[in-house]
Subunit: 339 residues, 2 copies
Amino acid sequence: MRETTLKQIAETLGISITTVSKALKNYPDVSASTKKAVVELAEKLNYTPNTFAVNLRTRESKTIGLIIPEVVHHFFSNVINGIIAEAEKNGYLVIILQSNESIELEKKQVEHLLNKRVDGIILSLSNESNDDNHIKEIIKRGIPFVQFDKIAKLINSSKVIINDQKAAFEATEHLIKKGCKKIAHIRGPVNPQNAIDRFLGYKKALEKYNIPFDYNLVYTCKDVVFEEGIEFAKQITQQHPDVDGVFIITDLVAVGFIAYCNENNIKIPEKIKVIGFSNWFMSKVITPKLSTVDQPSFEMGVKSFDLLLEEMNARKEQKPFYPKTIELGTSIIERESSK
Amino acid sequence: MRETTLKQIAETLGISITTVSKALKNYPDVSASTKKAVVELAEKLNYTPNTFAVNLRTRESKTIGLIIPEVVHHFFSNVINGIIAEAEKNGYLVIILQSNESIELEKKQVEHLLNKRVDGIILSLSNESNDDNHIKEIIKRGIPFVQFDKIAKLINSSKVIINDQKAAFEATEHLIKKGCKKIAHIRGPVNPQNAIDRFLGYKKALEKYNIPFDYNLVYTCKDVVFEEGIEFAKQITQQHPDVDGVFIITDLVAVGFIAYCNENNIKIPEKIKVIGFSNWFMSKVITPKLSTVDQPSFEMGVKSFDLLLEEMNARKEQKPFYPKTIELGTSIIERESSK
DNA sequence: CTATTTACCGAAAACGTTTTCGATAATTTC
DNA sequence: GAAATTATCGAAAACGTTTTCGGTAAATAG
């Protein structure tokens, strides 16, 4: 028992496949009576067009690909949410792939999606990524493409980002205004643009307020995980007992930092003030509640899809498309850890 | 500039499309020399088969659909992770859709996937689901189908679950063994099977240890969110100040419960012991650390896909397939909140 | 040297849809 | 009543692949 096809409907009605197809798509050159007959029979037989055939014929699948470093990540799952919601609203489905923060896997996933012939690709770079060739391949093949969050700056594609440098500046400034005199920074890995930018923002804030910058106060994460927060908290408090403020690349690590301090009776915010980044859900449930930088993750997903859609539509209509960059706003959320 | 096709290769090589296709698929009836020529040219022209055409011809897309209530959920994102990983290992891609805990949307998403003609569907029911018709439709159409976590018990499909009743029994027993005499339960919504089972496990544990069951000590979540934890903590501590233990449907709500107690100076575990469910990441970063029931979420994803794959393969080979149910083990994780 | 096997190749159908371009019949216009 | 217009339909090509089934030429067997 196969699925119903146009042919079956045509044969039982004694008309041509062409007419059936046209009737269902409401072409003007089909009489009202046959239209009615076709639609009714289609309804009765539960006809739905064979997507595979439609894809082949129309050269599009109404499916896009999304590559992110990790699904299990509060920020990314929020972005996914935004992308899926917006995609669905516009009749698109989303295939999700992970790079697991590995450049090799990321390349493989891009290859996957190109072979699959998705209508467009949205991507956030892995921390390892320091090579552009797979990205260039997407552009070369003319596949609509949007980057978000962790981007390759030099690639000429649409982008949805926040101003990491500005946000980091404000976070650091926040600590300074709360009275911190010696501020450490736990930064992200060396490659990702946003880790670099946040570091620069931190540095600029120190400069503005005439606080000497000291490289020994900068600690670099490798995997950006909870455990690194614990480890660096230990190092910082032992090596620099006079540090009174820390700006940390992301909340997950900041939560590790706080966990260590809690266990070792180092008072936050009295002894050290802490501010994280990204406003993870857990930030408001730990003790003390973590101050952080709010990043509009859901909206980032929505905007990313919107830009992709614009490009896909332009492509279909053979119109030129000029990549756009959307910069979303951030805001400091003050909680107990920096009071 | 179109993508390379078999036809192009055939024409430049002066051979037939058939031979090119066979050469690339390593058929035995193609000479080594032409095989070599074809493969080399294909390589040079960056040939990849047109998925749309392959799908149409082979009647499969190597794509499966996944419907879950929420992506932004530690448990589900872990399951997604498992499914995507296992799917990819076996050459399948995954389209993800959310039901947002709405039965209407869930039905729509099922419809979506059926129209899209995915090779199989994996689903976890929304909390609202109390109607089977869309599920039955999947079965009726003969699409390979697996349910996990929140399942429709009566549907004859493969399932991957935990023994919620047993796990809840053990969680409650854990509290009893820690000395609790009056134990409240914050349960999930009325429909989902796992909320029912966990409630039954709680009740059974009380019975076994001769603790009278009191309906007034059972509180029912509607949305299963953080805020409900806060609200019920307030109600429980005010209405029943002698309650000394609480078993809570899931960690997210338990964290809310703890947050309220922390703010109102109600000591955990001294005054009230708390145990949650699912071992969310945040459970080990809050203060006090939350005892919980560990649920193998990643593995749940892997097993779900494995069962789906079995069914998809059986279907392709026209062999009969008998749905299986896999029950995964859980374990009590004792942390500070129940010490 | 004929008969049979083996090696290699290709024509053609099929998957199900969309769309172009004629064709016919019915209707209107003058 | 002939000419032009309109309404309605369908043949056929195309999208790119896979696979069946024959066919020819070369190699082997007797």
